[in-house]
């Protein structure tokens, strides 16, 4: 008899399929899939992956837009005993190659229309044996590289699923095994793979639905990339609850999303400040009405206090949750919605089953009102970064008990007399634009690699809609001429959309310290003059 309580992340899908087989699991533009179907497809994928040699502990990459297939891929990978990594479909070849080879991914599910990027990336990922494509391939005929043995085989995903029975072998995974790798940008330039175990994620899914007060009756919208942990967990929570996920590929057409919210009676609307700013500007133009929404959730950046009344105008029954977290533990804290106007700038208190501490540099608690560094303790804390012991040691330090590790967020916080947390600032130079992390050094590296560019410095400047906009200061090689447009276009080919500098300022030289480091503060101050 199988346990009723999930122990592994995909147990929730099995339980949902057993208890609510006909309930709608995922709704997209063109598909409406029940739990029974979702589970069967995931099991077919698992069997197919196993037939292709995917073993317990292997890593499978998912390079798909938000779709039913992405959710199938997540759970299918888990059922096969492997760990999944969802990669943003806007990722270009170099970075895709980097993550595939860092993770030594053995299989990749990808959009057919991204086959050009995939083909280029897979040249540098020798571990990859299987590519499953969704939809027609763009380029003409693609021959797998024969330069190395065994060659990577490219197969059509739909046919692959149809070919394999929903009968995977039990891979014997235990809760402390790896479930997911979530890549996150870091100040050092290359993305880092956050390692999360089944245990981490099973704990987290339960804590989230508890404080968000969700049930199986909820209909959860997701417009955020499933490559982003915030988006991913909308799907995970839905499955855990046997609720319904209303999946959109993006928030590109806000009016369409609003229409969908009403058509599908969406009850949970997760967003980042950019999404809410866009919604509210539409609402100002012409009143929008989304009466079914009973939860708005916000994270990634601060939700301006004056946004909340607007959300209530659109959805009078909604509770608004201001939250803070980081990929390294998924979520840290949340503000009880009843306090959203009582403690307006606060991000609240630790999520259920976890604790937080605001400490000084010596590790001692600071008094209320004093700024310190936020530390996190709980079962949600990552196992570490893949292949990066030093970066891991930077974030995880020994805790109270042997083997325990506490997470140092390296973010500056203070608490008030009632113990409520307030975000003060980052201690690194990561830019948050549209709710996404942009590492200046990553953009600087790309700029510097463009022929004609001598050097570049990238900073975040405040922007009403984006939160922060990415700005590049560029020094060109002597005698070179290049337009802002050309530079931005070159960046587009190498970076995700949200990382491309919004504008470029050309300088004859960058202000530097005695030791040669760029004085970014001076650049920002020059702007304000």
């Amino acid at each position: 008899m199988l346990p009723r309580c999930p122990r592994l992340l995909h147990d929730s899908l099995r339980i949902a399929a057993e208890e609510h087989p006909d309930k709608l699991a995922v709704i997209t533009d063109d598909q409406r899939v029940s739990y029974r179907e979702l589970y069967q497809q995931a099991r077919r994928l698992a069997r197919g992956l196993q037939e292709r040699g995917v073993q317990r502990g292997d890593h499978v990459a998912i390079f798909l837009e938000n779709s039913v297939e992405t959710v199938v891929a997540v759970y299918g990978t888990l059922i096969a005993g492997a760990a999944f990594m969802v990669v943003n479909p806007q990722t270009k070849a170099d970075k895709l190659a980097y993550v595939l080879s860092d993770a030594a991914a053995v299989a990749l599910l990808a959009e057919g229309h991204l086959s050009k990027v995939v083909a280029e990336a897979t040249e540098q990922a020798p571990s990859l044996r299987t590519v499953l494509t969704r939809g027609p391939l763009t380029s003409g005929s693609l021959t797998p590289s024969t330069a190395r043995e065994p060659a990577t085989e490219w197969l059509d995903l739909d046919s692959f699923l149809a070919e394999h029975p929903p009968e995977p072998r039990d891979p014997g995974v235990v809760p402390i095994d790896l479930a997911a790798l979530i890549y996150t940008s870091g100040s050092t330039g290359n993305p880092k793979g956050v390692m999360l175990s089944h245990q981490n994620m099973v704990f987290t899914q339960a804590s989230l639905v508890e404080y968000l007060r969700l049930s199986s009756d909820d209909r959860i919208l997701n417009v955020l990339p499933l490559a982003f942990d915030y988006g991913l967990y909308q799907a995970i929570m839905a499955v855990h609850l046997a609720a319904t996920l209303v999946l959109e590929s993006s928030f590109s057409f806000p009016a369409k999303v609003i229409k969908r919210v009403n058509q599908e009676a969406v009850t949970v609307f997760p967003g980042v400040p950019t999404v809410f700013a866009t919604l509210l500007s539409l609402h100002r133009d012409r009143p929008q009405w989304m009466p079914s929404v009973r939860r708005y959730t916000n994270t990634a950046a601060h939700l301006p206090d004056d946004h909340v009344p607007g959300l209530w105008q659109m959805s009078p029954d909604a509770l608004v949750f201001k939250m803070y977290g980081l990929t390294e533990c998924k979520r840290v804290c949340y503000l009880e919605p009843e306090l959203v106007q009582v403690k307006p700038s606060s991000v609240g208190k630790a999520i259920p089953g976890t604790e937080t501490f605001v400490l000084d540099d010596d590790g001692n608690p600071v008094p209320p009102g004093t700024t310190g560094t936020l530390w996190v303790r709980g079962p949600h804390v990552m196992m570490g970064y893949l292949n990066l012991p030093e970066a891991t040691a930077h974030m995880l330090k020994p805790g109270r008990y042997p083997g325990e590790r506490m997470l140092c967020t390296h973010d500056l916080f203070r608490s008030d007399d009632d113990g409520f947390l307030y975000f003060v600032g980052r201690s690194d130079d990561i830019i948050k634009s549209r709710g996404e992390k942009v590492a200046p050094v990553e953009v600087e590296n790309v700029l510097a690699s463009i022929p004609g560019v001598k050097e570049a410095a990238v900073v975040g400047v405040p922007d009403e809609l984006l939160g922060q906009a990415v700005r590049a200061y560029v020094v060109l090689d002597q005698g070179t001429e290049m337009s802002e447009r050309e530079l931005r276009r070159a960046c587009m080919a190498r970076l995700e959309n949200y990382m491309v500098p919004r504008n470029v300022v050309f300088l004859s030289e960058l202000p530097k310290t005695g030791s040669g480091k760029v004085r970014k503060k001076d650049l920002l101050e020059a702007e304000q003059r």
């Binding site: 837009e65 806007q90 229309h113 590929s249 993006s250 928030f251 590109s252 057409f253 806000p254 009016a255 369409k256 609003i258 229409k259 950019t274 999404v275 866009t278 500007s281 539409l282 133009d285 012409r286 929008q288 549209r434 809609l465 984006l466 447009r485 931005r488 276009r489 587009m492 995700e496 959309n497 949200y498 491309v500």
Partner: protein, 84 residues
């Protein structure tokens, strides 16, 4: 190429850093990462100003704006009805 199409292509390639030549008429603009929610709103604003019409909320859908061909078709439709 109609004048409408020329104007639309010019706006998109200028503001969304794409080469006019690269801009396939039927290729999805959001899928190419060219348009996101910010970009769609800018595009709507351009269309309203340049072609002197108001785009109602219910028209801001991928069917009408997610590719050059679709934008041109939408505009042709709107401008034809306006003339009557």
């Amino acid at each position: 190429m109609s004048e409408i199409e020329r104007d639309v292509r010019e706006f998109i390639s200028e503001n969304f850093i794409l080469d006019e030549e690269e801009l396939n008429g039927d290729a999805s603009l959001t899928r190419q990462g060219v348009l996101d929610s910010m970009g769609v709103l800018e595009l709507i604003m351009f269309v309203e100003e340049r072609f002197e019409l108001k785009v109602p909320d219910e028209d801001t859908l991928p069917e009408n704006f997610d590719s050059v061909d679709r934008i041109v078709a939408y505009l042709n439709d709107r401008l034809a009805t306006a003339k009557r």
